[in-house]
């Protein structure tokens, strides 16, 4: 009798739980770390049986278009959105995001890396939690460097990179000294060249929002970029983005690749990379002006104001960006697969440092990035490889097309910069900058 009663009570409990269960919809990008999060989410649902998860995984640009439409129209399709450090300050100011004030007592907010945390905070309110963070760094082939009779310094200059790239190039053998992003787009070649330009002393705008592409610093940056790729880059560089360069580097076609620190885990992965045991890392180059050419980016999780399930959404975010989640990934997938660049405690962990040879450079790169003061001269904007204003996606991509045209030879460097200056001036005038 008591067994029957227990069974009935059990069924009733299960039934009531399923009735009360809250479903949250999570929009995310198809990157390796996010796929792992999806795989391990059964740990979250086991700890929170009253919450079920629905996933919408998309390519970055499609996701950006969808979540922007949804958040701007308060559509309410998503409860958790994966957005970048470009969107968070803009959307936070617009009042489109919910403040993350219920992450739990054990969350340890102070463990978040200050450079990352500051980019996600508007008026002292945290609007997104970082899932993984990245800067950019130099990845190079130690064997080719040795063959060229050179040694990569931990803090190389742009002059050294040019010299080394030239020495490592063997076009007949299909080995090219340098691989850089050339594909047009605000998140593609513009991210790289803008970061580079910071170390050459250039800036997008002066303090009065006047475009600065007619400056000698921009001339020097773009001239260097075009000449470097012409001398030592692979053919068709203007079509190469992150993935194309990753494929070239992993198959032994690149001597040096300057790109996201997150690539460290890919190029040292023995399963996919033919050069896994031959890769060295260094900080992004500089020109002795006090700024290195590295960027700062984080994929973050945020709750849109239109979500009616913000408590459950915050519970999920707290789980996915916690120290406990890092430990879970380490246990199931290994320390090298732990999402990097968000928590200081990860870099105090000797097991992680041992498993990820790029860890120290990643940390130094992130810590040295300053989105508030990104350039040698003062600027009125926030952001290193982007300018955190809503207009930037449009003007960034248009400028990227001019840079790409300079690389293919359709325009000279001077023409590309003149054209960039004109189109940015026009766009800023139309958007009525400087804003009163």
């Amino acid at each position: 009798m008591s067994m029957k009663l227990s069974a009935v009570a059990g069924c009733a409990l299960l039934f009531s739980t399923s009735l009360l269960a809250e479903t949250i919809t999570i929009a995310t990008v198809n990157n390796g770390d996010m796929i792992t999060m999806q795989e391990l989410s059964s740990d979250f649902t086991a700890k929170n049986p009253d919450i079920t998860l629905k996933w919408v995984t998309l390519e970055e640009n499609i996701l950006r278009q969808r979540v922007t439409t949804d958040v701007a129209t308060r559509g309410g399709q998503y409860d958790v959105m994966t957005i970048g450090t470009y969107e968070v300050p803009i959307w936070g100011k617009q009042g489109w995001l919910t403040e993350l004030d219920k992450l739990g007592e054990n969350y340890d907010l102070d463990d978040l890396l200050p450079a990352i945390r500051s980019g996600l905070t508007v008026d002292n309110k945290l609007f997104a939690a970082p899932f993984y963070g990245e800067s950019s760094m130099v990845m190079y082939r130690k064997d080719l460097m040795q063959k060229a009779g050179l040694e990569m310094p931990t803090k190389p200059s742009w002059d050294f990179i040019r010299q080394a790239a030239k020495a490592m190039t063997d076009k007949e053998a299909g080995v090219y000294g340098i691989c850089l992003r050339g594909k047009a787009g605000w998140g593609e070649n513009v991210a790289l060249i803008t970061s580079m330009s910071n170390s050459f002393g250039a800036r997008w705008f002066d303090e009065n929002w006047q475009p600065q592409f007619d400056s000698k610093e921009w001339q020097a940056t773009l001239q260097y970029y075009v000449e470097l790729l012409e001398e030592s880059g692979p053919p068709g560089s203007s079509a190469n983005g992150f993935n194309e360069n990753l494929a070239l580097f992993q198959t032994g076609k690149c001597g040096i690749w300057i790109d996201a620190t997150v690539a460290g885990a890919f190029v040292t992965n023995v399963k996919d990379s033919e050069v896994a045991d031959k890769v060295g890392f260094a900080l992004a180059p500089d020109n002795g002006l006090g700024k290195r050419g590295n960027w700062l980016w984080a994929w973050t999780l945020a709750v849109p104001k239109s979500s009616t399930k913000s408590d459950a959404a915050m519970k999920f975010i707290s789980w996915a960006t916690s120290k406990e989640y890092s430990a879970l990934v380490a246990e199931k997938k290994g320390w090298a697969k732990v999402p990097p660049g968000t928590r200081a405690s990860l870099y105090d962990n000797p097991e992680y440092i041992k498993a990820a040879p790029f860890a120290q450079i990643t940390l130094e790169s992130i810590q040295s990035a300053d989105p508030i003061n990104p350039t040698v001269k003062p600027v009125p904007y926030v952001g290193i490889q982007f300018v955190a204003i809503p207009e930037f996606q449009g003007i960034g991509t248009a400028v990227g097309q001019q840079f790409s045209a300079a690389l293919t030879g359709q325009l000279t460097v001077k023409q590309a910069l003149e054209s960039s200056q004109r189109l940015v001036e026009r766009a800023m005038k139309k958007a009525r900058y400087p804003k009163k």
């Binding site: 969808r66 439409t69 129209t73």
Partner: protein, 276 residues
Amino acid sequence: MAINKSNKSKFIYTILAWGISGLIFFPILWTILTSFKTEAEAISASPSLLMFDWTLENYRDVLARSPYFDHFWNSVVISLGSSLLGLLIAIPAAWSMAFVQNKRTKNLLMWMLSTKMLPPVGVLIPIYMLFRDFDLLDTKIGLVIVMTLINLPIMVWMLYTYFREIPNEILEASRMDGANIIDEIFHVLLPIALPGIASTLLLNVILAWNEAFWSLILTAANAAPLTAFIASYSSPEGLFYAKLSAASAMAIVPILILGWFSQKQLVRGLSFGAVK
């Protein structure tokens, strides 16, 4: 001599046709072949056409990670539903334009076609807000309505072209025999125009199956069709070309099979009235 010349040109045209077909089909073939490679082989600088280690790992991974059959079912409901609903509206519309013409009919037809020239993104925000207000976001019925509206101009145009080929006298004879409009459409017009209607239906199923803009924007987790399933395997940071190819192959194979079996109807329908 004349026979020799005719055989020679036939041979050249056959080779040319096979060459063009091969060119068109090659990207699909390459996608299918890549889906059986490892990720490392998929990005290899010297790719092999057939001599690689064939693996089903990508299909296993894709099936384990995504609810393929849910997406497949959504695609079937949306493409078939919108095509049938579209026919229901397009048949009477095309009948009236073909057989009960007035001086504005041509303008009306042109106006309908002009709606296809509007870039979809131009009406994105109003449509999204309408969907939000009517609770149609992420629903199959919402997608059926949108697909119907998108493809309706093409359906009306196609059916109008077929109906124009049918002699008016046949319909007049049925009217003389006492048929009303419903009888005329269902018992006289439809049986004669069946091949045209079938090819309109097939073409619209294919168009709705492949539509990617609205189906990506208006759906999330519940009504996402196979286009959203493919998009979930594209990544800007990470090489998943083999998995992306497996997902693409799984999404296109059903419609390829449908196209293969109905090619006769499709070709007949599309070339109907082309030569007079």
